[in-house]
């Protein structure tokens, strides 16, 4: 094998502390080295041309470049090698800059070390095997999980670009939390008015397959080639026959059997229901837990009234599999319900605020429903306990957020804004009412956001008190809110008619389970992790899985929409080519050595190791060996170190190559 060694001075960067000509001269004598040269700037065009010329002239088989970090210019030199006709994986970089010249002062010892580093690289490159980049096909279909505003936006963007989308939503209707909101900050336009056209667009889009009341059960495969199993829960209503007339809902005798979760438990619903009048699709669901038919086999009123014979009590869950290329996760958030804390929760709760005990202590989403024109009070401010108009409302911010001792340490980001909005909406309708806000800091970063909060304070006369509330208790029909005004430096007590808690935005209850199903990492709060906090905020660390909206961290609507469009763009980037190319640094199995213990299968973080049956000519299985799915393998090499018979090797970093490097020390 003929090897060329090229030592770069990197101007003065390497040359100052490493005697490059001496390195080049010393490397001339290494076994296998045909030519060893040094040059001022190897990555420049003349430098690269020198490499190419030498490869052609001396008919070199492999090259070693002593230069900067491989993270910097490995690609450059690989390209030069390919241009001159040798395999890009027969190029090794000896890191003489970051790992030698820049970190050492003494020229003699630094030069000695540089020679050692080049020698190690030469020994490795001798054993390198030519590799070819791996190509995998791409299925140009997208799965969007979650039909809130982020999921809707992502689905529409991908579908409008000309690709098919499967949109899976857990609830009977798409729309998410945004459909529950009354009005949106900072413009105070009606949430449903801007959202419902989008929902209808999704429903009518020829390239969007909408699957509501469905959940993702299993995700197999890898980027560009996922197979997703979806459970379509039984609605007990035939979607093809139902016209959405709603007669079954009005005739159902179980009027007040269950809390309406869309109305945040402020109202009731019958056993057969649509979450809200503008639901998409407008097809009801029968709730087995409260339906009389499932209790005693009687009733069946809905069957009698349905002219389309759409009711089907025997309907079962359906399992559907879809071939998918990219997955956009947009599962959103939920509000921290401070009365119902799970047993394993580290959160100590806020029992002193009386949420769940006092009927007029509500959370942000409940207040949205009270303020909403389509809500249980038709947009009139009536308190839940007696339906009277509250004349004094206290809003408490940061309930659960930014509170390490009792809640979560992060900021929920939207509460400052929506509290200002709530107070403003209240003051607009109840002119003689008083609104107080207890806050820690006002965080209103965003276009027109701070102006909005100032407007609440200056124009609408909302009284902001900086401080925390220690306790809420009932006295003479009033809720006494006892807190502290840290600016005045004195305790305050307000006798309120109603209290609104801006509770923290938290990850969905099943966020971690879904993450494990898809195979994406999540943080200690259950929010999904992005691949890089600054430069790759949309991608998850798993190839082909992108994140949108509040499932990644608390977000407001514009941010969620922006992120959803970005995720759609990322999916489209993937669909831009028919084949995916990736580095061939993957594990491979020497089947003749493999004993079939499958220790590698157990340690593989990607489930890339599969069982392969070796058959004789009669088709009888005589041995089982490990097989690495190169599409799934990411090339960590954990299997190679685990394998007791050393029959799994990582291409580009195999044992022989590493032993050679060690031996060259």
């Amino acid at each position: 094998m003929k090897i060329g060694v090229f030592i770069c001075h990197c101007g003065e960067n390497i040359g100052r502390t490493v005697d490059c000509p001496r390195v080049a001269k010393a490397c001339e004598w290494l076994p296998g080295v045909e030519v060893s040269l040094d040059y001022k700037y190897m990555c420049s065009d003349p430098g690269q041309n020198m490499i190419k010329d030498e490869i052609r002239k001396k008919k070199l088989d492999a090259i070693v470049v002593g230069s900067c970090s491989p993270h910097m210019h490995e690609k450059t030199f690989r390209k030069a090698a390919v241009d001159a006709g040798i395999n890009p994986f027969l190029v090794e970089i000896a890191n003489l800059r970051e790992h030698c010249s820049w970190v050492h002062d003494d020229i003699d010892s630094a030069t000695d070390k540089a020679i050692d580093l080049v020698r190690m690289a030469v020994e490795k490159v001798k054993r390198n095997v030519p590799l070819t980049t791996i190509e995998v096909p791409v299925t140009k279909r997208t799965l969007v999980i979650g039909g809130g505003i982020a999921g809707i936006q992502a689905a529409l963007d991908v579908a409008n670009a000309g690709y098919e989308v499967v949109l899976v939503e857990k609830e009977p209707s798409i729309g998410g939390h945004m459909s529950q909101l009354s009005e949106t900050f900072p413009t105070l336009d009606c949430s449903q008015c801007i959202l419902t056209p989008r929902m209808v667009e999704v429903y009518q889009h020829p390239r969007i397959k909408l699957m509501t009341y469905s959940e993702v059960e299993k995700v197999e495969g890898f980027i560009g080639n996922f197979t997703v199993t979806i459970r379509k829960k039984a609605r007990h209503i035939d979607e093809d026959k139902c016209t959405g007339c709603g007669l079954c809902i009005t005739k159902c005798p179980t009027k007040k059997k269950a809390f309406n979760s869309f109305e945040e438990d402020l109202a009731y619903r019958p056993a057969v229901y649509v979450p809200f009048p503008q639901a998409v699709p407008n097809i009801p669901v029968i709730d087995e837990t409260v339906c009389m038919y499932y209790k005693n086999g009687k009733c069946g009123m809905c069957v009698k009234v349905c002219g389309r014979e759409a009711i089907d009590f025997n309907q079962q869950d359906k399992i559907v599999t879809e071939e998918i290329g990219a997955i956009i996760v947009a599962t959103g958030y939920k509000l921290y319900k401070i009365d119902k804390k799970p047993d394993d929760s580290p959160i100590k709760g806020y029992g002193e605020y009386g949420y769940g005990k006092f009927k007029d202590v509500v959370d942000g989403l409940q207040f949205e429903r009270i303020a909403s024109a389509s809500g249980p009070t038709s947009g009139e401010f009536k308190r839940p306990s007696d339906g009277k108009e509250p004349k004094k409302i206290v809003f408490i911010q940061c309930v659960g957020s930014r509170d390490e001792s009792k809640g979560f340490s992060y900021c929920s980001k939207i509460c400052c804004m929506y509290t200002a909005k709530h107070a403003m909406l209240y003051k607009h309708k109840v002119h003689d009412g008083e609104a107080y806000v207890f806050y820690m800091d006002i965080r209103s970063g965003g276009k027109m956001y701070d102006e909005f909060v100032r407007r609440a304070i200056e124009e609408d006369g909302v009284k902001y008190i900086r401080g925390r509330v220690s306790r809420i208790f009932e006295k003479d029909g009033k809720y006494i809110v006892r807190g502290e005004d840290t600016i005045a430096g004195m305790p305050v007590e307000i006798d309120a008619d109603m209290v609104v808690l801006a509770t923290a935005m938290i990850a969905q209850q099943d966020a971690s389970e879904l993450a494990q199903t898809i195979g994406i990492p999540y943080d200690k709060y259950g929010f999904y992790n992005e691949a890089h906090p600054k430069l790759r905020p949309i991608e998850s660390t798993t190839g082909g899985v992108f994140l949108a909206g509040a499932c990644q961290s608390p977000k407001d609507i514009p941010e969620s929409v922006a992120m959803a469009s970005a995720a759609a763009a990322k999916a489209l980037v993937l669909f831009g080519s028919d084949k995916l190319e990736r580095e061939p640094v993957v594990a491979y199995v020497n089947e003749s050595l493999c004993a079939g213990c499958f220790a590698c299968k157990k340690v593989c973080p990607y489930g890339a190791v599969e069982v392969k049956e070796l058959k004789d000519r009669n088709g009888v299985v005589y041995r089982e060996v490990a097989y690495v799915n190169t599409g799934l393998c990411q090339g960590c090499g954990t299997c190679t170190a685990t394998c007791p018979s050393k029959s799994v090797e990582l291409a580009g970093f195999n044992n022989e190559e590493i032993f050679a490097q060690i031996a060259a020390l």
Partner: protein, 166 residues
Amino acid sequence: MKEQNWEPKIVAFVCNWCTYTGADLAGTSRLKYPTNVKLIRVMCSGGIDPVFILKAFERGADGILVSGCHPNDCHYNAGNFHARRRWTFFHELLDYLGIDKDRLQFSWVSASEGKKFVDVVSKVVNDVKAMGPFKGYEQLNKEFMTEFPDVSGVNNDVIIKEGEAV
């Protein structure tokens, strides 16, 4: 070589994503550390075979550093957990073999911890300097040779090839 001029040979097995990049950062930040250490890049700390360590000791390394991403920061999600479990065992085995445990050190160095990389490397170099050159393997070889005289012509210096029992 005279004892006072002796400089230890240190090999560092580092993962491509965190520690190698952290070492790059040490360079770009122009931090200084002794020249004794030479890095061998692997993709993940989970892919470092204990045999690599033994081989390095056999080939004259006086100290070895193994470093990867912090737990939960692994580029491959879980590779460093496998590494951690493996090293916990191997460290004890090393002791059993009669090799001073402090010659093999582990650390987590992230891509942003150039300073920590320098500290870790300097510590290993100083520790190994204090311990003196590693002669364990030579001694073992000698004992082995006297107990079983060289009749088969086996050369113990040959690099172990792929697939050979170690």
